[in-house]
Amino acid sequence: MKYIFFLLSASLLLASCTEDFFSQTVKIDPPEYDKQLSFHLLLDQKDSAIRIVVSRNYGILESPESFDDWFVKGATAELYENGQKWLTFTPLSVDSSFVLTAVLTHPLQPGSTYEIRAAHPDFPAVRAVQIMPADFQIDSARVKYNAVPGEFGDRIDLAEVFFQDQPGVKNYYEVKLFKLFYETRYDPQTGEMDTLGVVENAVYVDGYNDPNVQAGFYNGGLISDQFFDGQTYKFQARFDSQSYGTADSSIVVRVRHVTEDYFKWSRSYEANYEVDENPLVEPVSIYHNLENGLGIFSVSNRKDIEIH
């Protein structure tokens, strides 16, 4: 009998060496999902005209036939201030009715509650609530050129911002640096260069070296006051201004007092971007605050300092 088993085992062993045995893959059902509206609305008190692009989600394996299928036409949206309807969004145009716009009649007020509501007959209604963070002051800001060693042994610049944290409450901030670009045109009549406009270019930050600061969306440095509650905080960021055009153009330091929701969204959004489906990196979930929807609604208090 043992010879029968031997032959049986040997034949099975040989069979197991075929490609079908070792490249075993089987289709399985993807995770279920709910159809939801999606948009991102990041407001600060310097905004005057606002817009949202209303889109929808698809299953992880679904592929919309065209890019336009992502967008949801015919949605409505309203913005409430302290429980009272403040603004009704209107479609940008008939063709672009998925873009909803509104004009703010006054700036956002610190301490006020803002609520966004959006709806469409085919999707669950969406809402989110935010409280405008308190006003704050930047004590000072400066840029030290060629102040610190860079990654490759060269000298790079250091931005320093000092601001006062409000004690007794959890505060979150975002600091971004922008280099200003002046769009110019030669005027043959005057023989001089005319300035057509100013463009802000977000500056890539080399590093922070500060456990209070985490990388956020679009080169933002996110700060939680957990370890400096009520104190003057010194923010430092290393960057290379030479990478952004002429040395004599201005640097804008933008500090925003943001909500906890924004802090969580921005941090997770950036981390998710960095992960980029790398299987060797721990997965990152992106934070949302839209009830029954995907995306973020946030309000922030913003201060800019231009450094020449």
């Binding site: 031997f6 075993q24 289709k27 939801q36 989600n57 969306f217 060797l280 990152v284």
Partner: protein
């Protein structure tokens, strides 16, 4: 202000000493009582029998042997009828008049499986009699009966078939007990912790069953003598070696062969055992691999092997003193070298991966008095991991070297321990079994050294080169513990095991202390049922950063620091147990466990980033609860067990999943396993195992939407993941079968083993991935699971003499 250079015992230490005092202060010198003591051994081999029952039939008083076969039974001066029983052995008995302290060593004759087919073992300590909960003893023969992957019988793979224990899945090396992590298991080989128990990326464990005598698993209700890990204690004791005759056994299998030799060095005084094994796929496949490279115009070799060796010697200096020296060394090595040569260029590439353990234990048993036994141990344990790769590239023109590039990268990490401990067993009366002791461990952590160098040369140009070393200095830390426990038979129904474990850890001026109470209680009901309850608190000072995803042994053991706190847990359990019929042990346990400061990588941390580990980890809370049902039959023609676990395990970290609780990756709602072997005749046996478990929880996006691009004013597609570990992989189930044909030859006994792993070719999930399918010009995204092993048959030839 911080006080230094003075030592004031911490509060927990004072409490510990006080309770220790109370524990022993009840002692009143018993009059007219004498003690019978000695060891219980196997008659044929002289091996100590662990857990043998010694009972005075007249009074009903009894005790069990400890890890070194020692027993002590104090009885009133009277005639005594002592019965000795042990599973798999013929019972022994002797009658005498006890009028003085008596030393009596006892040998039991094995109930020969081959001659009698049925193993006798009627009156060992029954499951309902034991106070301790959460403990499972698995006879090594039962482990050897379990059909195994490629025929390689494996201790840990067999333990993974027990309720409350899981192995993560195929291609994963960890062991997960009651919702705990892979670092929370104290795995002891002859009392020495083994840090990495995996061979071949987790498909085998480092324990060679031929050299193992005894295996036990404790997953809750931890007695006070154990500490240092939160979730389990797996105690594996090696054989001592036959002290009467020279014997050997070996196996030639599909991928590995092994050989074990044992025998007396000096009969009745000293014996040895040595056991080794090695895989040889690399050797067998080498000609084929080389030919394959040659066909591609290159010269190369790729291979993998593991080997290990266990050795142990012992010497009996007197009836009261015996010394054991045991040693284990094992390594895994993967290598890949390729070379391409031409008249114009030479290219060489090499890569290697290796890891391994060394453990050594020197143990001294001393019987101080008939009631007091001591075991003193010095141990050494080392685990190291190393990886290297590099290339050399040279270009020639008219045989003259015109350019050269060289690159080398090496990484090392590891941990080593030097430890000393002393354990006492004190048996003042049949009602009390007191254990106390202390230990100290000096840990040396090697958190990881990166060394890389690059040089480049081109004719006519200077040589450019750089080297980069990221060397993290070794970290030394001291861990120490002391304990006392009493297994107290209060009356015929009520028995408790109560104790305290005190531990401490010191690293760079930051001391931690912990006092951990432990309690197990059992109450015997009518009808042979018992109800049990247990409570234990545990503390763990060392942490493991491991890669659970891709099966590489990149284990990095790290200490508790000022920033990274020790892990703590408490566990409570209740249950019932009964021996059904003659030899079916049945138990049900309900447990609840909370773990604090469990460790995990932060979101977005790379698993292959080795520096700055404290910044990349997060500490949080773990909760596990469930119920376990277990039926085990250790004796008879049919032996095996059935286990079922219904459980929940979750984790919560402030900076993972936005602080919300989520299922642990190895949260298994259902886990069912049945394994058994049936011995039809002396020559033929059949064994089978079937397992079913809920799939692992994994993080998988369920939808996609448009979000702002991170670098520009356009929209990009974002994957939405509702929460961590939101998706269940398909369930895991597998049947393994095996048959054995045994024949006694003139000089030896040989066994042919045949079997199949995954007999019905279940495509069990290994990992999930998305793929694009093309059909009639249309593309479609699909989700697929990849499986690792189809049905894999095996055969092996083994011998024993």
């Amino acid at each position: 202000m911080q006080r230094i250079n003075t030592f004031c015992p911490p509060k927990p230490a004072k409490i510990f000493v006080f309770i220790l005092f109370l524990l022993f202060s009840w002692q009143i010198r018993a009059q007219d009582k004498f003690t019978i003591s000695g060891t219980v051994t196997d008659q044929s081999s002289g091996e100590y029998l662990i857990g043998a029952t010694i009972r005075d039939v007249k009074s009903g008083k009894g005790t069990v042997t400890n890890t070194f076969g020692f027993y002590s039974l104090t009885l009133p001066s009277d005639s005594a009828l002592i019965a000795i029983t042990y599973i798999g052995y013929k019972p022994g008995a002797f009658q005498f008049f006890l009028d003085k302290n008596t030393a009596q060593n006892i040998s039991l004759e094995p109930g020969s499986v081959l001659r009698e087919v049925e193993i006798k073992g009627e009156r060992y300590e029954r499951i309902e009699e034991r106070a301790q909960m959460g403990r499972i003893d698995v006879p090594i023969q039962q482990i050897k009966n379990v059909p195994a992957f490629l025929g390689e019988k494996d201790v840990l793979k067999a333990l993974q078939l027990l309720p409350g224990v899981s192995g993560g899945g195929e291609g994963q090396s960890g062991i997960y007990v009651r919702g705990g992590g892979p670092d929370q298991n104290l795995i002891l080989l002859d009392g020495v912790p083994v840090y990495n128990v995996s061979h071949l990326f987790g498909f085998f464990s480092v324990f060679n069953p031929d050299a193992v005598k005894d295996v036990s698993l404790i997953k809750g209700g931890f007695p006070a003598r154990y500490g240092g890990r939160l979730s389990s204690v797996i105690e594996i004791n090696m054989k001592e070696g036959n002290e009467n005759e020279f014997h050997g056994e070996g196996t030639i299998g599909l991928i590995a062969s092994k050989l074990t030799l044992e025998g007396p060095i000096k009969k009745g005084k000293s014996s040895f055992i040595v056991s080794g094994r090695r895989t040889y796929i690399d050797i067998l496949a080498r000609p084929l691999i080389k030919a394959g490279f040659k066909a591609d115009g290159s010269d190369g070799v790729v291979g993998y092997f593991f080997d290990d060796v266990n050795a142990k010697v012992n010497y009996k200096f007197s009836e009261k003193d015996r010394v054991f020296l045991s040693f284990y060394a094992g390594q895994d090595k993967f290598y890949f070298n390729i070379e391409e040569n031409d008249e114009e260029y030479e290219d060489r590439f090499k890569a290697g991966l290796g890891w391994g353990n060394i453990t050594t234990a020197l143990r001294w048993n001393h019987i101080w008095t008939p009631k007091l036994f001591a075991n003193s141990t010095l141990t050494f344990s080392r685990y190291k991991f190393e990886t290297s790769n590099g290339f050399e590239s040279r270009e020639f023109e008219n045989k003259a070297l015109i350019s050269e590039d060289k690159f080398d990268l090496n990484y090392f990490s590891g941990i080593s321990d030097v430890a000393a401990k002393i354990d006492f067993d004190y048996l003042p009366s049949p009602e009390h079994y007191i254990r106390f002791g202390a230990n100290a461990i000096l840990h040396t952590f090697k958190p990881g050294d990166f060394r890389s160098s690059y040089s480049s040369f081109e004719a006519g140009e200077d040589i450019s080169s750089f080297s980069s070393n990221y060397v993290q200095p070794n970290v030394q830390a001291t861990e120490f513990a002391a304990y006392a426990e009493d297994d107290w038979k209060i009356n015929s129904s009520f028995r408790v095991n109560a104790g305290l474990h005190f531990s401490g850890f010191a690293l760079a001026g930051k001391p931690y202390f912990s006092l951990q109470p432990r309690l197990n209680a059992r109450y015997l009901l009518d009808g042979g049922w018992s109800v049990k309850a247990g409570f234990s608190t545990m503390r763990q000072y060392i942490h493991l950063l491991t890669n659970e995803t891709i099966g590489l042994p990149t284990d990095l053991w790290l200490p508790t620091t000022k920033r990274v706190k020790p892990q703590d847990s408490w566990q409570a359990a209740v249950g019932t147990a009964k021996t059904l019929g003659k030899d079916y042990e049945f138990s049900v346990e309900l447990y609840y466990k909370e773990m604090n400061n469990v460790i995990a990588f932060r979101e977005g941390s790379s698993l292959l980033q080795f520096e700055g580990w404290e910044d990349r980890v997060s500490q949080g809370r773990g909760t596990a609860y469930g119920s376990e049902f277990f039926v085990q039959k250790k004796t008879g023609k049919l032996s095996g067990w059935i286990g079922y676990t219904l459980s929940w395990a979750t984790r919560q970290f402030d900076d993972i999943n936005f602080g919300k609780e989520f299922p642990y990756k190895y949260d298994r709602r259902h886990d069912f396993e049945v394994t058994g072997s049936y011995k039809f005749t002396e020559r033929f046996s059949l064994a089978a195992s079937w397992v079913y478990s809920t799939g692992n929880a994994v993080t998988l996006g369920n939808s996609q939407y448009l979000g702002p691009s991170n670098y520009g004013n356009y929209l990009s597609t974002i994957t939405h993941t509702p929460k961590r570990n939101n998706f269940r992989m398909p369930s895991y189930n597998r049947l393994d079968v095996g048959v054995e044909f045994t024949k006694k030859k003139r000089r030896y006994t040989r066994t042919w083993a045949f079997g199949a792993y995954n007999a019905y070719n279940r495509k069990n999930p290994f990992f999930l991935f998305t793929d694009t399918e093309y059909n009639n010009g249309q593309t479609k995204q699909v989700l697929k699971k990849a499986s690792l092993f189809p049905v894999i048959p095996y055969f092996a030839w083994s011998f024993k003499f």
